[in-house]
């Protein structure tokens, strides 16, 4: 079991090297603790968010996450994020209890509405986070989504 976990960690660690997301999912902090597993999110959600360059974002009620309260199938959960914050130019979606917490990062040029809809994998019941950059500041909102059948290894 432990062996298997190591293997999994290595695989995910590789993501950092591929340069996944321009988010630097695997640098400094995690790498120092586990040198061969730079990308694996053994870190807390706060640490992952900080590693996005977002520091400690402020909670904002202006960010709306839409999701089913209960998702039957964790392989495909519809999630929407809409920001009411002026100057929103980036949205990052995260799932706290997934092996790779950062789901996607969206860059929104002028003229594009600060709202996206997508479908994500969820391993188990978890908080979904939306980090938003608006006017150069970072904000965050979260919402719990209950998952009946997990995205099984994703």
């Amino acid at each position: 079991m432990r062996r298997q976990r190591r293997r999994m960690l290595k695989t995910v660690g590789g993501l950092g090297a591929v340069g996944l997301l321009p988010l630097r999912v695997g640098d400094a902090g995690a790498a120092a603790a586990t040198p061969d597993l730079p990308g694996f999110d053994t870190r807390s959600i706060d640490e992952v968010i900080a590693a996005l360059g977002a520091g400690r974002p402020m909670d904002s009620a202006e960010i709306r996450i839409t999701a089913p309260p209960v998702a039957e199938d964790g392989r495909t959960v519809s999630i929407g994020v809409a920001s009411g914050l002026p100057g929103t130019d980036r949205i990052v979606l995260l799932v706290e209890k997934n092996p790779v917490k950062v789901v996607a990062s969206y860059t929104l040029p002028d003229g594009t509405a600060p709202a996206i809809q997508t479908r994500v994998k969820m391993n188990e019941t978890s908080n979904v986070y939306a980090v938003v950059r608006a006017g150069g500041e970072f904000y965050v909102a979260r919402r719990e989504v209950r998952v009946i059948v997990g995205g099984c290894g994703l």
Binding site: A113, A115, R119, M122
Partner: protein
Amino acid sequence: MSGPTRIRASVKDGVTEVRMLMSHPMESGLRKGPSGERVPMHYIDEITVRHNERVVLAASFGPSVSTNPYLAFSFAGGAPGDEITVSWRDTGGDSRSDSTRIS
């Protein structure tokens, strides 16, 4: 090989709504196949959407995006007949670009 991205784009009251469904397995590298072997990691990691030549959305995906990624958003402007192009690249070095006209 991946099939074409299905794209719908329609303009109403000066706002163009774009919806797309990309065709991709989005393998995280964690899933096991029928024989118990791990299926290698293979997922779309970058996508760009253009209205004519102008970028209206750029995104980076990780492996937690669902198989056959769905994405919807909207932007100000656009007219019937304008071109919407969705381009993606995956971790295996494959890429593709598909277009549609705004209706």
